[in-house]
């Protein structure tokens, strides 16, 4: 079905400073992180710890102040962006899953998912085929023609996972993807992310404070005061 991806993400000494001079705030102070292809890791920390800043740096929407980021075999940041077209980088190499699904309300489910490959120049028919293939894997094939407003919260989140995966990115960044869901649906989403990560060999970073899903990770990065430290998780979901 899907071809394996020899990717993953490695972050070395990533720093981010907001402002300058006396008003400068160092939000990230040398973050280290490695996520292998097919692996799902948790990124947890209290408010203001630097989670969102790290996510924005990883998502190439803000520029880090220093350090190094390697996506698959490609250095994308090394004391400066090494990629000219960040828009294309986000489109082709990074998948996003948000706290709320943020589906485009005026596109049906299939077109919501087919849009990223279409933006990358993939033919409409092929883009829709890829979307339908993901729907089958995510068990929402019967909702392919529905509008986002006709879906339940869990279904919408699965569609957003499909959208994140459709361009086969080496990494998916999931920002509180289970926050609006009840326990059962939250665990279902994590189960799907694990399944998709393995199936598509994608590295998945899940930012969360959701206590009910933290035990599902095999590895967890704790972030506090702009620094990360790694610890083993329970991996309960997969056991």
């Amino acid at each position: 079905m899907a071809e394996p991806m020899s990717s993953g993400i490695r972050i070395e000494g990533l720093r981010k400073v907001y402002g300058q001079g006396d008003t400068a705030v160092e939000a990230l102070k040398g973050v280290e992180m490695v996520v292998a292809p097919g692996e799902v890791v948790g990124l947890v920390g209290p408010s203001g710890s630097g989670k969102s800043t790290l996510l924005k740096c990883l998502g190439a929407v803000i520029e880090p102040s220093g350090g190094r980021m390697i996506l698959g075999d490609e250095v994308i940041y090394d004391e400066g962006w090494r990629i000219g077209d960040l828009r294309a980088l986000r489109r082709d190499k990074i998948g996003f899953v948000f706290q709320a699904p943020y589906l485009i309300p005026f596109l049906n489910v299939t077109d919501n998912v087919a849009l990223p490959p279409m933006l990358a120049g993939v033919a409409n028919r092929e883009a829709r085929r890829r979307a339908l293939e993901l729907f089958a894997a995510l068990d929402i094939g019967h909702r392919a023609q529905a509008m986002p407003s006709q879906l339940s919260g869990g279904e919408q989140q699965r569609v957003s996972i499909a959208r994140a995966l459709v361009n086969r990115p080496p990494v998916i960044l999931a920002d509180e993807p289970t926050a609006p869901l009840d326990s059962e649906r939250a665990l279902s989403v994590i189960r799907i992310l694990n399944q998709m990560a393995q199936q598509y060999q994608t590295a998945v970073i899940v930012v969360t404070h959701d206590e009910k899903i933290i035990p599902t990770f095999k590895r967890i990065y704790h972030i506090r005061d702009g620094r990360t430290h790694e610890e083993a998780g329970e991996g309960r979901l997969l056991a």
Binding site: K51, S52, V61, R87, R90, I104, P105, L115, L119, M147
Partner: protein, 400 residues
């Protein structure tokens, strides 16, 4: 590639349609204003066309007979008939007044023409019912817009007239319907004194010993008759012979010194450049204001619609949508809104044009120009929303 603008419009078609309807009504008013101006110009042209004249001979140093009062002796036309190139010449009077009709009144341009001269300049054209004036008194030909019917009686000053003919599109430059009456009656109506003034004048004349001499019978009656009659007309309309130009025929008449001669082109210049110029400027001002209001409304609507989609725009940017695609989506929506508005505006303007009291002429050329202007306005108006959308940071899609 999916048409994002098209999908968004189809998704919220009700909102879009009703917004377009509102905008359309505004565009309809704008088109109608342009139509009112065109109608005024057309009325002025119809006035000149329907006069059947090639030259207008009027009082020296006046712009008469439509723009300024003009008074000529009614014998002048005889001399004009003898000029080279003149095929016909006819006296004419014009008087804008309220014509009484069964207790109400109608504003009309009363035209005095020589009775029994069909084909002569000044005669009522476009006769759609009845006949021309054949008697020297108390017959009238009225335009349909006046509301009079054949056989109906109307009152001008103290005399009653029977409507013997009806015309169509015989109007003054201000759109008032024309009512044609015999020249003699029109001369009397134009210079008629009230009864008391006549009695007082007769009394004073009768008491004047110079007009009441013994041995000169009939002198007093002759003087009183002379005081009561009027030999002035407002203009002499001249038709030139085939093969002669208006200017060529006008040139020797101008040498008479005591009259002014206008060709068709000059009369058009007077009507459009002077008579309706202020109204035209007024309408132009309205058009500018309406265009600004339309642009503001389109800008506001598109801006509001865009601001309502900020999160979606941030997501679109985050997943790699080009700024050009997002800007194009907003521009297409603005143009679609303008197109809906224009179509609605054109339909309503066409629908309500006949109900305007004045002639509203909606020209296809004006519609095309209007459409182009609406598109330009929509393009400019979408600029604000596009600017706002392009400033949206894709990071806004990521919480925290």
């Amino acid at each position: 590639m999916i048409s994002l603008a098209g999908r968004d419009i189809m998704h919220a078609w009700g909102k879009f349609l009703f917004t377009g309807l509102g905008l359309g009504l505004l565009i309809g008013v704008t088109l109608s204003m342009a139509g009112i101006y065109r109608g005024m110009v057309d009325d002025a042209m119809a006035l000149l066309d329907n006069s059947g004249a090639d030259l207008w001979v009027v009082q020296k140093d006046t712009l008469g007979p439509y723009a300024e009062p003009s008074s000529l002796n009614d014998d002048l036309y005889r001399g004009l008939l003898g000029m080279p190139g003149v095929a016909g010449a006819a006296n004419v009077t014009y008087l804008t007044m309220q014509v009484r009709r069964d207790g109400s009144d109608v504003r009309a341009l009363v035209v005095g023409v020589v009775a029994g001269g069909p084909g002569e300049p000044g005669q009522p054209r476009q006769l759609v019912a009845g006949r021309q004036i054949t008697r020297n008194h108390y017959e009238a030909v009225a335009d349909l817009a006046s509301g009079f019917k054949l056989g109906e009686r109307l009152q001008i000053r103290r005399h009653q007239y029977t409507v013997v003919g009806l015309t169509k599109r015989m109007v003054s430059s201000s759109g008032d319907p024309m009512i044609f009456i015999p020249l003699r009656d029109a001369q009397e109506a134009q210079f008629l004194k009230d009864n008391d003034a006549i009695v007082q004048q007769r009394r004073r004349t009768g008491q004047n010993p110079g007009f009441n001499r013994p041995g000169v019978p009939g002198l007093l009656e002759a003087v009183i008759a002379a005081q009561s009659s009027n030999s002035s007309v407002n203009a002499v309309l001249v038709r030139v012979k085939p093969g002669h130009s208006g200017e060529e025929v006008a040139e020797p008449i101008r040498r008479w010194k005591r009259v002014q001669v206008y060709t068709r082109q000059q009369m058009e210049g007077i009507l459009i450049g002077k008579l309706i110029a202020t109204s035209a400027r007024q309408i132009a001002m309205f058009l500018v204001i309406l265009s600004v209001v339309s642009a503001t409304i389109v800008a506001f609507i598109i801006y509001t619609m865009t601001m309502g989609k900020i999160r979606e725009i941030a997501v679109l940017k985050l997943i790699g949508t080009r700024n050009r695609t997002i800007g194009g989506m907003i521009l297409q929506q603005a143009l679609a809104l303008g197109t809906i508005g224009f179509v609605v505006g054109k339909i309503v303007a066409t629908f309500w044009a006949p109900y305007f009291p004045k002639y509203v002429l909606l020209l296809p050329g004006d519609a095309v120009r209007g459409f182009v202007v609406v598109m330009v306005i929509c393009t400019l108006a979408s600029g604000l929303a596009i600017r706002a959308a392009l400033k949206v940071d894709p990071a806004e899609a990521i919480g925290g």
